[in-house]
């Protein structure tokens, strides 16, 4: 029988003096995953952007539960977005979007 896919939602904070579009942000994330783990690793991550607030510098992404640590490492390796100095920090990780927003509000 096919195994049910378990996913994890990550709330992220973008630390920079600049604001970035969602496209620029996701390009940086994909590039970091590709650089560290290659195309095979990136294909396993199932990365998707769920929510993005450029003004507040907040983002929510989704990944597979097996690749959370991999994505965390890739996000930590980001030092630039659109050639501007930036850092991305994981605020919280959750199994459902609802629980994630609940955790952020707390």
């Amino acid at each position: 029988m096919l195994k049910r896919m378990r996913r994890r939602y990550l709330a992220l904070k973008i630390d920079s003096n600049e604001t970035f579009s969602s496209r620029e942000f996701m390009d940086a994330v994909w590039n970091a995953v590709l650089k560290l783990y290659g195309e095979y690793g990136a294909s396993r991550s199932g990365l998707t952007l769920i929510d993005y607030d450029a003004e507040k510098g907040l983002a929510v992404i989704r990944t597979m539960h097996t690749t959370v640590e991999m994505v965390r490492a890739a996000l930590a390796s980001i030092t630039k977005i659109r050639d501007k100095p930036a850092a991305i920090h994981v605020l919280t990780v959750s199994g459902t979007i609802r629980a994630l927003y609940k955790k952020i509000k707390q």
Binding site: E69, R72, A73, A76, S77, A87, H89, V90
Partner: protein
Amino acid sequence: MKRLYADLHLCPSLKDSEQVESMIEKASELGYGLIAMSLPSNVSEEKIQQLRNICKENKVEFASRADLKPQTSKELLNSLRKIRRKFEIIAVMCESKHVARQAAKDRRVDLLNFPSTGFRKRFFDKAEAELASNSLASFEIDVKPLLTLEGPARIRLLSSLRREVAIAKAFHVPIVISSGASSELLMRKPRELAALASLFDLDKVSAIEAVSKNPLAIIKRNREKLSPNFVAPGIRIIRGGKDC
């Protein structure tokens, strides 16, 4: 009980007090309970106290750290004699084999660090690990080069780190992961440092210990040694005076 995290290697420019303050604030925001800053060996007691006060305001503990970069083992011994009792942490950047061996066997050295770009200057081999495990010195890994290097240089660094971490684990040498950050944007959360450690095959439990238990053990041991009541390991003065 909540785990306490430590970053033993922040390197702000001490002349820029704004940067120092913002990095301390950031460390507190990122969830660190203790930080150590690399200080020059001639730093005044007032400066250390000033940094301690800023940290206290931000609810972070501060530990003083000196980074030694000796050219010869004799120079290392001289520096250790002069400054050991002044700092809570002594780290040695081992740029030659003689210095690396001397640092590994000297009980006054807490952290062994190796150049991140000079791959022929990484002397953490089995002999070094055996000496370090007997003297309780820890192997320090700075994450900053992993973030700033790219391409072949990063690949070579990761490959060296993977080999060295395996040796350190085999000889039970404690591993300490530090940020080595010189600016706010190069600072990472403890869990993020631990996640980056997976790149050189350090398992999750050991990686978390490398940012919490191992650095805190060094601080605890050294604070005990630097206390005026310390006599020898396991022996300290409890009470003094005529009634003893």
